[in-house]
Symmetry: C2
Subunit: 100 residues, 2 copies
DNA sequence: TTGACAGGCAAGTTGTGACTTGCCTATAAC
DNA sequence: GTTATAGGCAAGTCACAACTTGCCTGTCAA
């Protein structure tokens, strides 16, 4: 009776705002909380509060998708996509060669 | 200002019961609703009602992860993992060779 | 044609998760 | 020291999604 694994991972990518945060960190890695807030508002047009983004980042960090590094009063956020590997390993995707 | 794509996909895999259904269809493809209900109870120890599973299957079908085929009074469910490809394409996973 | 079986539809309940609000700590600039 | 900046903590609000409940439709066997 196998248990469901990585519930935190699926919860993390289940929210649209968190997915946009991952997009943003993919575009420019190592941003601070305030940077992310600013760019989400500017580029993606969604006006979320600082606290909301902070909570989203905590969820992403718990899922292992984001690692943080403190430096003085700044905290830099780095993306780590390796946990996503477990998804395609769990439900293998049939290889489909474009031109055999 | 890019829009978030595939919200249905992430919603679908965001629920633990639906992930177990995908596990079950990976193990044995083309099951009917009642078969899935039975095996979820037996093998995975979760006792969900028929209606609950039916609604889960509808969500999975809307995400393109499950396709259905009617035959008489039976409806067979087939898994399709290809939508999962968009996840690893959106946030590329760094290739890490085991032994360089 | 009547009963059993496989599945569908729709309204109601409830728990969880996203977001806010308010206040607090720590580092750096002046 | 004082002030501004970067971030944290915790309780409260609210909406949505999972699940239930009850009834209905369609297919097949007797």
């Amino acid at each position: 009776m196998p248990v469901d694994s990585d519930p935190d991972l699926f919860k993390a990518i289940g929210d649209a705002t968190r997915r946009t945060i991952l997009d943003e960190l993919t575009d420019r890695d190592g941003q601070t909380l305030f940077e992310i807030c600013g760019r989400l508002t500017m580029k993606h047009g969604l006006a979320s509060s600082r606290q909301a983004i902070s909570q989203h980042l905590a969820v992403l960090e718990q899922a292992g998708l984001v690692h943080t590094r403190r430096q003085g009063r700044y905290k830099f956020h780095h993306i780590d996509t390796s946990p996503l590997r477990s998804i395609v390993e769990r439900w293998p995707i049939d290889r489909e060669e474009p031109n055999p």
